[in-house]
């Protein structure tokens, strides 16, 4: 094993699809300590590889599938893996996280990560086991849905799978990759698979990651499981109502995106709520492997029991297109899964198409509130039929062709999630600055602070930048370790959530916006946080699983390093200074015409954010990169920044 650390398998696989060859990819313990794993490892690998102007469908774009060191080591909720690549939707790096089994199986085959390069001559399936890598003709599977593909693969291959459906095959710019029932949904990673003719990957093995301190890790895992099961968010709301349970609180807080983000409340919200889903449609809970929260919904479509919709799909295919029929959303969710398409970007693009029709600009046949032709539309988008091929390119490209940039609701080309940010300005900041585009989690997920979990003033910009940075850093590292983002919520003190009207809660929440300077100090001088806190079991787990030094400070540092690594990789790829923008509807038009504060004061927020991050207009300074230990040469940096800040 090529490592002195535990937890890792010690090997990274490099697959050349053009030559049909596989070989080891050099990855040292220094690399492991610098990047931890997951999306940070992938970001680092891509940073060393990408060059200015590289595009998603270039043959030398890489697909980097990475796991975390904790995956497979018995930690609860830690079986997730990551796929990163240059995104065809945004032309910058996308990192897409997935709760399927593939990462677990990849490690059991002996690999911490696998990189796919080149382009196969024809449809191909790559099979990875501890006894070698084989290339199989993928033609028999080409055209199959993600579900059918995996069912067929199961007849010949044990273990876990990655599969694309028709959307990825047809390079829908938000085509996604499936592992079991879960999606690596965002950014169009499926389209890159399709471009490389990579229909599917299988992984199987019997190896088990070895850990540094078995007994201490076991104790940590048991405490961690208990923390998750007893916390009000992860132990009650998420299992009972799923992420869908957010619909009602979002409505209350005016952040339920309605009619292509023209409002924050929807009269029919109860009909598409998590409560409605749980009471009248839920067959049982589902879960990713190793999860003790078990928040997934299982529902019926016709006679099949299938995965049910998450919040984003409910919100964006519900209120955001003026639809109050939950059964249709349940069906579309399944169709999107089978076609292999990101429900968020698809819904956002459809909503944009609907507004284009409403404004008399172009008629795709799609109208707000009209639901009888959506299934057909999904199919046409996935197969790029007629002018639905435009919708398959996403809202930014559509607005370049048809106009309507002010209401093409995307940031850096990727459509926003279901949270309307004009009533949660911290989330608005996050959407704009998130590395991969309009992602709510990459954004620091401020909505949990700005009203959903507890209630910090959602319209004030104070403190939001600092909190965004801290959450972003923490969540980045938690993801890199292999854990589900929902484990981050256990960090939030239970009393702030359980006792919203307690005087102490009210006091803490009133003070929250003013903790900015303290939080910034902590984010910057992480050495202060050289401790392990029971609310962050992850840092203990990394210590006991890998043997690496690991504290809360390490996590904040890994997180900051990871964020900056992806950011500078994007600059190298051609992202310009000042790219972190939101459409005018969100920054110039108040959600409530009577309250001018109900819009995102992006300039104010970004000024504070960039100063704290050590970025100039979205471009990291050399000093900050070096302080954080980001691996990049001065030469590459200077050339990229020169291009990014060039006028004209």
């Amino acid at each position: 094993m090529a490592t002195n650390l535990y937890g890792y398998m010690g090997e990274v696989l490099f697959v050349d699809l053009t030559k049909k060859e596989a070989r080891p990819f050099p990855w040292t313990d220094e690399d492991r300590k610098r990047t931890l794993g997951g999306k940070i490892m992938a970001g680092d690998i891509l940073l060393q590889h990408v060059h200015p102007g590289m595009k998603a469908f270039d043959e030398d774009n890489w697909i980097v599938v990475t796991t975390g060191p904790l995956t497979g080591c018995g930690c609860p909720n830690t079986s997730r893996f990551n796929i990163s690549t240059v995104s065809p939707l945004t032309n910058i790096v996308t990192s897409s996280n997935c709760g399927g089994d593939f990462g677990l199986s990849l490690k059991r085959a002996g690999y911490d990560a696998v990189i796919f390069s080149g382009r196969a001559e024809g449809p191909t399936v790559v099979n990875i086991t501890q006894n070698g890598v084989t290339f199989e003709d993928g033609t028999p599977y080409w055209g199959m849905t993600t579900g059918e593909t995996q069912e067929e693969l199961k007849k010949k291959h044990r273990g876990s799978y990655l599969a694309i459906g028709p959307a990825g095959e047809n390079k829908v710019l938000y085509g996604c990759v499936f592992s079991g029932e879960r999606a690596a949904g965002r950014g169009g990673v499926g389209a890159v698979f399709g471009d490389k003719n990579l229909k599917a990957v299988t992984a199987f093995g019997t190896l088990i990651p070895q850990v540094a301190n078995r007994e201490k890790l076991r104790q940590t895992n048991v405490k961690w499981a208990k923390l998750l099961r007893t916390h009000p968010l992860t132990g009650r709301q998420l299992p009972k109502l799923g992420s869908a349970g957010l619909i009602a609180p979002m409505q209350a807080h005016h952040i339920l995106a309605t009619k292509n983000f023209s409002a924050g409340r929807f009269d029919g919200f109860e009909k598409v709520s998590g409560e409605e889903l749980a009471e009248n449609h839920l067959v049982s809970n589902g879960a990713c492997t190793g999860c003790v929260i078990r928040c997934a919904r299982r529902v019926k479509v016709d006679d099949r029991v299938v995965k049910g919709p998450e919040l984003e799909t409910l919100g964006l295919f519900g209120p955001n297109i003026l639809n109050d029929d939950i059964e249709s959303i349940i069906r579309w969710n399944w169709e999107l899964d089978e076609l292999g398409m990101d429900s968020i970007s698809c819904a956002g693009s459809i909503a944009f198409a609907m507004e284009l029709k409403e404004k008399g600009i172009h008629d795709f046949g799609l109208t707000f509130g009209k639901i009888d032709n959506i299934s057909d539309a999904l199919n046409k988008i996935a197969h790029r039929e007629g002018d639905f091929s435009d919708i398959a390119d996403g809202s930014r490209k559509m607005s370049e062709k048809y106009g309507g940039k002010e209401f093409a609701i995307n940031a850096k080309g990727m459509e926003l999630a279901a949270y309307e940010p004009r009533h949660a300005v911290g989330q608005g900041l996050g959407y704009a600055v998130a590395n991969r585009g309009g992602c709510h989690l990459n954004a620091g997920y401020m909505v949990v602070v700005e009203g959903l979990g507890f209630d910090v003033d959602s319209l004030t910009p104070h403190g939001k930048a600092a909190l965004t940075i801290m959450f972003q850093n923490l969540m980045e590292a938690i993801s890199a370790a292999g854990s589900c983002m929902f484990t981050s919520y256990a960090v939030l003190p239970g009393f702030l959530i359980d006792k919203p009207n307690w005087w102490l809660t009210k006091g803490v929440l009133a003070a929250f916006p003013y903790v900015g300077p303290v939080v910034n100090l902590l984010s910057h001088f992480t050495k202060v946080a050289q401790i392990n806190l029971p609310v962050l079991p992850h840092s203990y787990a990394v210590k006991y699983a890998t043997g690496m030094h690991s504290t809360m400070a390490s996590f904040l540092t890994w997180g900051a390093r990871g964020t900056n690594t992806e950011r500078i990789a994007n600059i190298v790829l051609g992202q310009k200074a000042g790219a972190d923008k939101l459409p005018d509807r969100l920054t110039k038009v108040p959600q409530d015409p009577k309250n001018p504060r109900t819009k995102v004061p992006l300039d104010t927020l970004e000024k504070v954010y960039y100063r704290a991050r050590g970025w100039k207009d979205g471009v990291p300074t050399w000093h900050r990169l070096k302080t954080l230990g980001v691996k990049i040469t001065r030469q590459v940096y200077d050339a990229a920044v020169k291009e990014a800040t060039r006028r004209g």
Binding site: P232, L238, A244, P249, L311, M485, F486, D498, N501
Partner: protein, 95 residues
Amino acid sequence: MAEVTVKLFGVFRSDTHLASEVVHADSVLELFVPLNDRVDEVYAENKALNPALEKPDPIRWKDAVVYVNGEKCKHKNDKLSDGDEIWIMSPASGG
């Protein structure tokens, strides 16, 4: 006493199996009394069919996030009027 509609969401709804109730109360704080009476009634009905059912905790002002006609209620003694719609929510998170 004002006649108001109380709608429950979140864990309050899933724990009590109550979705929407009409109650009579003069203030926000007061509505919790008839509301919890209904919680007990519904529990008794359901328990007859399902003896294993656990008794839900009473819903209390300090644990709840309360909206009156779409506005967040900050003071428990706020007066209610006929036809008011009250939302009682629990905090949530997700992705």
